[in-house]
C-alpha cells in the first residue's frame, strides 16, 4: 500500500498482511474439513412402532396360519425368531450370537427372507429386545428385519418394513 505526503517526496507505507493471510488460510482449511465431514452425513429415519395388541395383522392367502412374527434379541443366545400360528404350535428359529463380535445380522436377514418368501403378506414384526442393549444394535437389528442386502447386483430387498419395539417380558 502506498501514499503520497507533502507533494515533494513519495513515501511508501507498507502493511504486512502475511501473518493475517497465514491465519486465514489455516482457518479456511479447518472450516472446509469440518464442512466436508458434517454436511455429507446425511440423516435418514427408521420408523419404529410400539406394539398395539389386537390390531389386524393384514390380509392375505395364508392369514389364518401365521398369526405373528416375533424376533427376540438377547446378548446370549442371540436372535430367536418365533412364528406364531393359529392352528399349531409356534415354530422357533435360533440365530446364535456371532461370537464376541456380537449379533449375526446377516443370518437374521436370511432367515427372515425365507419367512417372507412363504408369507408375502406379512409386513410387521415385533422386536423384543433385552433392556440393557444399546440403541446402536437395536437400529442394526431393525435394519436387518426391514431389508436384506442382496449384493451389488440385486441391491436391497424389503422384508418386514413395520417393526414394533418392546422389551422382553420377565
Amino acid at each position: 500500500m502506498s501514499a503520497v505526503s507533502g507533494g515533494a517526496r513519495r513515501e511508501t507505507l507498507s502493511v504486512n498482511v502475511v501473518n493475517l493471510i497465514d491465519i486465514l488460510i489455516i482457518l479456511l482449511v479447518f472450516l472446509l474439513t469440518n464442512f466436508a465431514t458434517s454436511t455429507f452425513e446425511d440423516l435418514t429415519s427408521v420408523p419404529a412402532g410400539m406394539p398395539v395388541w389386537g390390531r389386524d395383522a393384514g390380509s392375505g392367502v395364508a392369514r389364518e396360519k401365521l398369526d405373528r412374527v416375533e424376533v427376540r434379541m438377547e446378548s446370549q443366545p442371540g436372535f430367536t425368531i418365533v412364528l406364531g400360528f393359529s392352528d399349531r404350535e409356534p415354530a422357533v428359529v435360533r440365530v446364535p450370537a456371532n461370537g464376541p463380535a456380537g449379533f449375526d445380522y446377516a443370518r437374521l436377514s436370511r432367515e427372515l427372507l425365507s419367512v417372507k418368501q412363504s408369507w408375502e403378506f406379512r409386513h410387521d414384526v415385533l422386536l423384543e429386545a433385552e433392556k440393557d442393549l444399546s440403541f446402536d444394535v437395536i437400529v442394526k437389528a431393525m435394519d436387518a428385519i426391514r431389508s436384506i442386502d442382496m449384493g451389488v447386483v440385486a441391491g436391497v430387498m424389503p422384508l418386514f418394513p413395520r417393526v414394533a419395539l418392546t422389551d422382553i417380558p420377565n
Binding site: S14, N34, F35, E41, D42, S45, M50, V139, L165
Partner: protein, 172 residues
C-alpha cells in the same frame, strides 16, 4: 505487500516497488469464512442438537421430518433443541416409565400444533391427547434401550405416536 525487485540495488539505481494487491483475495476469504462459520453453526444445531450425540448408521432411505425433534444423550433429553430432562441418567436404574418434564413439553407443543391445524387437542373417546403426530427421536448410539423405551412411551402418551429414529445414512 511490497517486494523489492532483485538486482536493482546492486546496479546502484533507486529500488522499485512491486505491489501485489491482496485486498480482493482477503475479501473473498472473509466471505467464505463467514459462510462456513454460519453453515457449521446451523448444521450442528439442526442435525445433532447436542455435541455428545452420535446417531447410529442405517441403510434406510426414508426422509427425516423435523417437525418435532427429541434428542437423547446419555445424560439429558432435549425437545426441539432445549434441555427438558437434565438428569436423564438418574432414571437408568429406576422403574420410571413417563418422563414428566418431556411429557409436559410435548403436551404444550401438541396443543400448539392442534390449534394451528384446527383439530381438537384431546381425543373425545379416550380423553388423551389426540394421536397421529410425528416425532423424530435422535439418540446417541450408546444410550440403552430401556432409556429409549421411556422416551418412546412418553412421546406416545403425549399424542406423538408416529415415532421414527434418526440415523446416519450408510455410506455417507
Amino acid at each position: 505487500m511490497i517486494f523489492a525487485r532483485k538486482g536493482t540495488e546492486r546496479r546502484g539505481r533507486t529500488p522499485e516497488d512491486l505491489n501485489v494487491n491482496v485486498v480482493n483475495m482477503i475479501d473473498v476469504m472473509m466471505i467464505l469464512i463467514s459462510f462456513l462459520l454460519m453453515n457449521g453453526a446451523v448444521q450442528t444445531y439442526s442435525t445433532l442438537a447436542a455435541p455428545d450425540l452420535i446417531p447410529p448408521v442405517s441403510r434406510s432411505e426414508d426422509p427425516v421430518a423435523f417437525e418435532t425433534e427429541v434428542a437423547v444423550t446419555e445424560r439429558a433429553v432435549l425437545l426441539d433443541g432445549e434441555v427438558v430432562e437434565g438428569n436423564f441418567r438418574d432414571y437408568e436404574d429406576g422403574e420410571v416409565r413417563l418422563l414428566s418434564a418431556l411429557d409436559a413439553g410435548l403436551k404444550r407443543k401438541h396443543e400448539r400444533l392442534s390449534e394451528a391445524k384446527g383439530v381438537p387437542a384431546i381425543d373425545p373417546d379416550t380423553g388423551l391427547p389426540s394421536p397421529g403426530n410425528p416425532v423424530i427421536i435422535k439418540s446417541d448410539r450408546k444410550v440403552l434401550f430401556k432409556q429409549i423405551q421411556k422416551v418412546m412411551f412418553t412421546c406416545n402418551q403425549a399424542g406423538f405416536d408416529k415415532i421414527e429414529f434418526a440415523a446416519i445414512k450408510e455410506g455417507t
